[in-house]
């Protein structure tokens, strides 16, 4: 389950980065730009839901242990990076949701054109919605670039484990392997 959630999130995040960059930087017809924003909203909320599920799963299931010989410094770095990833995977959808909720256009969110999704009830708490929207947009963009950078580090670290350290850190995240964290003991010959 953790593996499935991880790769579903990964796919969504890549789609979100592509959509986010295109819809804000490309010269698009108004309709196309509008549609990309709606897709970005739908996929973003999907990541929020997936991440909540992942955190719940993580809190109730022990993840497989790190490789035995891993230095303490690297363990701390890995833990920090993973915490930051989770933080961004929750924080980015929330800030995006807040931007949508405070937008003067007040466009309803309908996930994938099918499921109505409410606005965050922020109107009553925010004295200046336009200013708040501007600030949140900046935070959202900054967070997105941070996530992209951290993602590069995450992928580089996984490849380092696989190609240089030759441990099973990457392989055990690939689908189609037994869910058991400890490899089955091979029968003695």
């Amino acid at each position: 389950m953790a593996i499935l959630l991880h790769w579903a999130s990964a796919l969504c995040v890549l789609v979100l980065i592509g959509l986010g960059l295109t819809m804000t930087h490309a010269a698009l017809a108004p309709l196309r730009q509008f549609q990309l924003y709606q897709w970005h909203k739908s996929v973003g909320i999907t990541v929020l839901v997936l991440t909540v599920l992942r955190v719940l799963w993580r809190l109730t299931h022990r993840p497989p242990p790190l490789p035995a010989g891993m230095p303490a410094r690297e363990r701390r770095a890995a833990a920090a990076a993973h915490h930051l990833l989770y933080l961004l995977l929750v924080g980015l959808p929330l800030t995006g949701w807040a931007v949508v909720s405070l937008s003067p256009f007040n466009i309803p969110t309908v996930l994938y054109g099918l499921v109505p999704w409410p606005h965050l009830p922020l109107a009553g708490f925010v004295p200046d919605p336009a200013a708040a929207e501007g600030i949140l947009k900046r935070i959202h963009a900054l967070g997105a670039w941070s996530l992209a950078a951290l993602l590069a580090v995450h992928v580089a670290a996984a490849l380092r484990h696989h190609l240089r350290l030759r441990d099973d850190v990457l392989r055990r995240m690939l689908p189609g392997r037994p869910l058991s964290p400890t490899p089955t003991v091979e029968p003695t010959r």
Binding site: P30, F34, Q38, F105, N106, I107, P108, V110
Partner: protein, 189 residues
Amino acid sequence: MSARHLGLLAALQVAALPAAAEWAVDPGKSAIRFSGVQVGVPFTGRFERFKAAADFDPAKPEAGHALVLIDLASARTGDVQRDQALPQKDWFDVKTAGEARFEATRFVDKGQGDYAAIGTLTIRGTSRPVTLPFHLTLDGGTAHATGRVGLVRTEFGVGQGAWASGQGVALDVGVEVDIVATAQPASGN
């Protein structure tokens, strides 16, 4: 509110009694549709609930009256997102003024079955003179009227704030009526 309107309707009918004929609109066979352009793409919709009645004698159109009450919360365009936006305060603001009202105070015969209904349209508490041209076919006790009028939505406050410009949604909208009514036997009161 609707009771008051019905009372008014009765009063209008009584006032126009001598020459006019009363018509009862068949909601099942009638439709009030609207059309607009969002991000460059035309869309159409319809009001699923409305009430209408007319006092209209083709021999004496200037003595006629008609009242149409449209439940703005019943606007449907086939797009969940748009249908969620329409009742909100930027658009129809149905919580404050849930009904659009067209009251025709006279009709003008344009010849060959063409008429104009001259009256006042009220949306969101804003009233403006509106002339609805329509074509009428009479078949025994049944009347069929089809007409179309172009409106500038912002003249009625439909599209507030960021929507007051025509950038996202065009200011020009169309309203089409397709009304089937049956002649009512003259009532004693």
